[in-house]
Amino acid sequence: MSSETVHAIIDDIGALLLFTMILIVAAGQIYRAIYAVAAQSLLIAIAAAVLAASTGNRDLWVIAGLTLGVKAIGLPWGLHVVVQRMNVRREVEPVIPIAATLALAVAIVVMAFQVSASLGPIRQAITGNALPVGIALTLTGVLVMATRRTALTQMVGLFASENGLFFTAMAVTQGMPLIIEIGVILDVILAALVMTIMVLRVRSTVDADIADLDRLRG
């Protein structure tokens, strides 16, 4: 593949990633947010495979496989099981209206592109529009975490945020050291595990959502 084709593919995937992010922000039901984040991870895995094929960097194949197995299948499936097990009828419970969150998300995307446009030399170091898309995904993920009151939706925001990071990291032309990427994925899995245990534990003792507890103040 020529580098222009790769550029174009990465930019297309970037656009699709932003679209999945909008789906996550707009999701009124927790299931939809989980499916959207799974689709997003799948796109990241495809991007890794494209970059692996074009650069001949074998490490990226491993990352593509790990992303597919862990982030596109494993974690969403786990979340799905937890949602069913807890039998949550509660939806995502936004703190501010979803329309307002969407407007903020759009502002974040515009700002991310603005900031990256001001950085000339980074164009050689990171493929295509991976930098602004990555920044936008990371910040929007944080936005989702900040504006949702249920623990599982906050976890979805966290995964989306990490996806943004991965997208930028794999598009660095020199490639990230494989061992670092694996370490990062391992950390994400462990964090997700610990969070899930906490959620289930609070649910079983006080029958409340852990993110909804607010006794500690001042």
């Binding site: 980074i122 020199q174 990062v184 610990v194 409340a208």
Partner: protein, 486 residues
Amino acid sequence: MADTLLWVLPLVPIVTALVMLTTRDRRMLSAIDIASSSVLLVLALLLAREVRASGPRAFGVLRVDDLGLVFLLLLVVLTLAVSIYTVGWLRQAVAVGNMQADSVRFYFALVHAFVATMVVTVLADNLGVLWIAMEGTTITSAVLVGYHGHHHGLEAAWKYIIVTTIGISFGLFGTVLIYAAAAASAGAGAMSWSAIMDVAPTLDPGIVRIGFIFVMIGYGTKAGLAPMHLWLPDAHSQAPTPVSALLSGVLIKCALLGIIRFQTIAAAACGPGFPTTVLLVFGLISVVVAAPFILTQHDIKRLLGYHSVEHVGIVALGLGFGGPVGTYGALLHVVNHGVTKALAFFAAGTAIARYNSRDMRVIRGLLGVAPIGATLLMLAALSLAGVPPFSIFVSEVIVLRAGIGDGHWAAVAVFLVMVVVIFAGLLHHAGSMAFGEPTPAAGREREAWSPIVGMVLLAAIMIALGLGIPGSIDGLLRRATEIIVD
């Protein structure tokens, strides 16, 4: 020799954690705990001697220099103090049912896993490994924060893990950006700090600037700098006392080390003015934000938590004033605050156990029922408030002198006002706890020996550092300062 030490150091707590899972005997566990912490201390001192003799050493992704040593020594000393303190603390906690006797081994194993991640953090040369270890500290310590299992603890643990995980993903983003900037010239080794430092002056300032701001927010969250400090008072107050001491004494300092590593890169790429200005702003915000909460607080451990925000702010101010004086003051303050804050949490923990309450309005007349503990609590409070001749006074004066020398008059004025306000607030709280008639709630049992030994160890270091900085420590801090200021 030094190379072997480098990889053995993180291995010691990991092996200890695994060994601990094999036994349920509490005495046995405490013995392993203290033995392992002592071994760690001895190994760290050996490493310090090697570095003094033959300069920085690297082994794979790990590297030790004088800057890392400052934090490593603080870590191992506090770990030993925590191990000693835990003996008596645990006996009491099991007796009143705060800890389950048959699951104590998991607690110990987690504490050592937590220590292991912190050891890797201070020894990491590869900035990716630094990040992985830092996230590892979050995961292990979040479980410890919620260890008691009641919903306050779990609420604090949730807030902690969510806020710091978001924060730290910003840190990774910053790391990736700086790596992208360096990869072109430094090649495959571009993730290691020492390799980036070699090419730092040639990096594109625009990218490094954005990368540093991401890192500052990321590791700043973990360090408890305001306005990203929201998790800190909850986590520090809800964690079991020995864990609070480690969180406040060491963990937030490890995050500061991460910031300092990136500060040196940013200073080389964009000139020293840029990172110091950012640090100065965050430092000032932290000092100002912490003050009102310290004044109005009733929960003693939350008080100490907010107090950590203030002191991390002072360290950031020292780094922000910059120059050899400010940086030296900041590093000295890291050590002083680490030791003093651990002592304060220990003393507060024993007082809470005695009164079965963490409300400072209930803890009265401690001097009457527990004279040694009360004296140590007063010493810690006096030192934290910045009273001479204790160690924190010394480092605060050095930081202040750097500010005046550089002509940061506005920052110095704000700093002074806040220090005076906090001084008054803290002494008021501490005085009313120590003196007066003991409330009926006060337990009158004899003071346990092990917490006292742990506290006296720290108090001795605190007082010694206040009276005069020994030549070896002074030399270490000076060499560490040279790494940062260059």
